[in-house]
Symmetry: C2
Subunit: 347 residues, 2 copies
DNA sequence: CGAGTTTATGGTATCGATATCAATCACCGC
DNA sequence: GCGGTGATTGATATCGATACCATAAACTCG
């Protein structure tokens, strides 16, 4: 037996059916009126929109997602939200996809592959239309889930040897190598590396790898690396590290840091101790953070256009979604974005 | 006429019904087995989880949300994702809610009320279980939508005169006022304010207001304020501003900046020009960013525990959600978080 | 002017889960 | 051995939109 419930309470939000009834049309017509593409006469649309306004109706996309099989979500995993490089990428992604009515579902992995795996699972639970990750390495299970999710995947900030699907990135190792070569060109011969030993920060590990390759190629004294705890590496840790570095190898004349933040911390510590930068030791960073452009001495670094990585990743994803819709099946796309060594006063 | 579709394609993800059929139980039992609380015998659960694994089944929450009328989303609006104060708050919120299986839906307002209004609308479309905003002022329409959404609302980073629902924040004006008083106590008498004139950054405007009140109370020369463009304010802009400031009022002995970032930029510019900080001019900031603790001179600032604001906002929201579930109806909660003036070498 | 096409709209099935209530079964105490 | 209690499971209706197809009206053109 079905009983009609009569409620006066305006608590329960209005449904599309109610709007339809009130406007004297079918629910389907209301649905069309609320999409931009829907073919509805101008007059009807006006009437419907007025009713929507009157009832304070808000479309329920979670219901729409179920029937249309498109959620309009793009899952995005970044290592940390506090790192402005990654948040710039997230912003770029947002800019690229919001014009298509897509919305970002953001998660932080804390530089941890296991956390990434959990997040991939949690995100897939929301049935995103696509997913963008900030890494080229994953746990086997995460990889499997990404592959079999049946949605476009974009790996960014890396150039994986064996991509899952699409890629928008650059080689952290190559970038770091280029930076060391530049320092060599400037005349430095005892070059050390600070950071990047953590198993967690794979991009940092790649940068260290590039450093190692470079010192080998150039015949410089190898093995001068200092590491510290888990990412995210702080400015303070950069300061501590450079002190250890100079204690351990007093002849070093340049330090490449895994990121500008640690480079900045290192330089400030040098100031406090009266070590001239670059007189006593040159310091370079990675990432071209705002602080590096603004501090004194300004920091030599590797610049990548982080926002652009996001824009391109979003663009590639949109393209892939279009391909699915149009039943085209082009192969995965790999886009290599440029990096640039910027020489400043710290070296 | 209905035709049975036989597909070999594993493209289409498995459904709960398929898992159920394969495990020889009903869909309802699968659903229970996948929730932690569900009452299912150990033996059945094991069998179901094995089948889930075998088929690579991933729960579809977007379908679950429709029937349970709970999406598990918490919408969070922050002014900018690149500002580590706000991203720390977002991180705190995530920490607080993820234990309850809730997920954050993040949006950036770009310090723009109109954008906030659009975002509120877009977010409500996803039917979040609650919403957290980083402001106490909103467009009339945004306010109306928040009020009538029928979900708990938490306003943070502010103490609105007329709260919508719950509040977790502090008075930016009071904090700024306290900072000026501290400078006065240190002996500064010609104190200026940099930033915060934008109609967009209401927190910045409040800080400027607190400054004005303080100089009035203390009988100091008023009106020494410099503003610059729209937020987010950059380090570079802080540098430009302090130059204008000193040109315009050569007798200023201290500058309060709307944020640590502009304070840092100002200090660096002073370095470049050979103006001693604090000898020629003292500089204070707001927000206790990492750079202020690490640079030299370290920057006097107002510290707020940003992550804690997020944790508390999350906690308040969870409480409110519990209240709804248990049909309790306590009044809105207002939690005032402390701030602290930290005196360092820049003043 | 009639066949063919386009435009606007509605009816119905369906997306994939969960709420709710009912049914079954084992076990317990007296 | 019987009613009662709690644990486990299932059947069915439903959440609120959109896809898909059908239909009616208006319009096009040789």
């Amino acid at each position: 037996m079905k009983r009609t419930q009569i409620r006066k309470s305006p608590k329960r939000p209005a449904t599309m059916a109610e709007v339809a009834a009130r406007a004297g049309v079918s629910a389907m017509t209301v649905s069309r009126a609320l999409k931009s593409d829907g073919a509805v006469s101008e007059e009807t649309r006006r009437r419907i929109l007025a009713t929507v306004e009157e009832l304070g109706y808000v479309l329920d996309l979670s219901a729409g997602a179920l029937s249309s099989k498109r959620t309009g979500f793009v899952a995005v995993l970044i290592p940390s939200i506090n790192n402005s490089n990654f948040s710039d990428t997230a912003r770029g992604i947002t800019e690229a996809i919001e014009s298509q009515g897509l919305q970002m579902l953001l998660g932080y992995t804390d530089y941890d592959m296991d956390k990434e795996e959990q997040l991939v699972q949690a995100m897939l639970t929301r049935r995103p239309d696509g997913i963008i990750v900030t890494d080229g390495r994953h746990t086997p299970k995460a990889r499997r889930m990404l592959q079999s999710a049946g949605i476009p995947v974009v790996e960014t900030w890396d150039l994986p040897a064996d991509p899952i699907d699409h890629v928008v990135g650059f080689s952290n190792a190559e970038a770091s190598r280029a930076l060391v070569h530049r320092l060599y060109h400037q005349g430095y011969r005892n070059i050390a590396f600070i950071g990047g030993a953590s198993r967690r920060d794979t991009r940092g590990a790649d940068r260290r790898l590039g450093y190692k390759r470079a010192v080998e190629e150039l015949g410089l004294p190898p093995g001068r690396t200092i590491s510290f705890g888990n990412p995210p590496i702080s400015m303070e840790q950069g300061g501590e590290a450079i002190v250890h570095l100079i204690e351990q190898w007093p002849d070093v004349d340049a330090a490449v840091c895994v990121s500008d933040l640690s480079a900045f911390g290192a330089i400030m510590e040098c100031h406090r101790r009266g070590w001239a930068v670059p007189g006593r030791i040159a310091v370079a960073g990675f990432g071209d953070f705002e602080v590096s452009r603004c501090c004194w001495p300004r920091i030599t670094t590797v610049a990548v256009d982080c926002r652009n990585i996001g824009l391109e990743a979003g663009r590639v994803l949109l393209g892939a979604l279009d391909d699915v819709r149009e039943k085209r099946t082009p192969g995965p796309e790999t886009l290599i974005v440029p990096f640039q060594v910027i020489e400043r006063e710290s070296t």
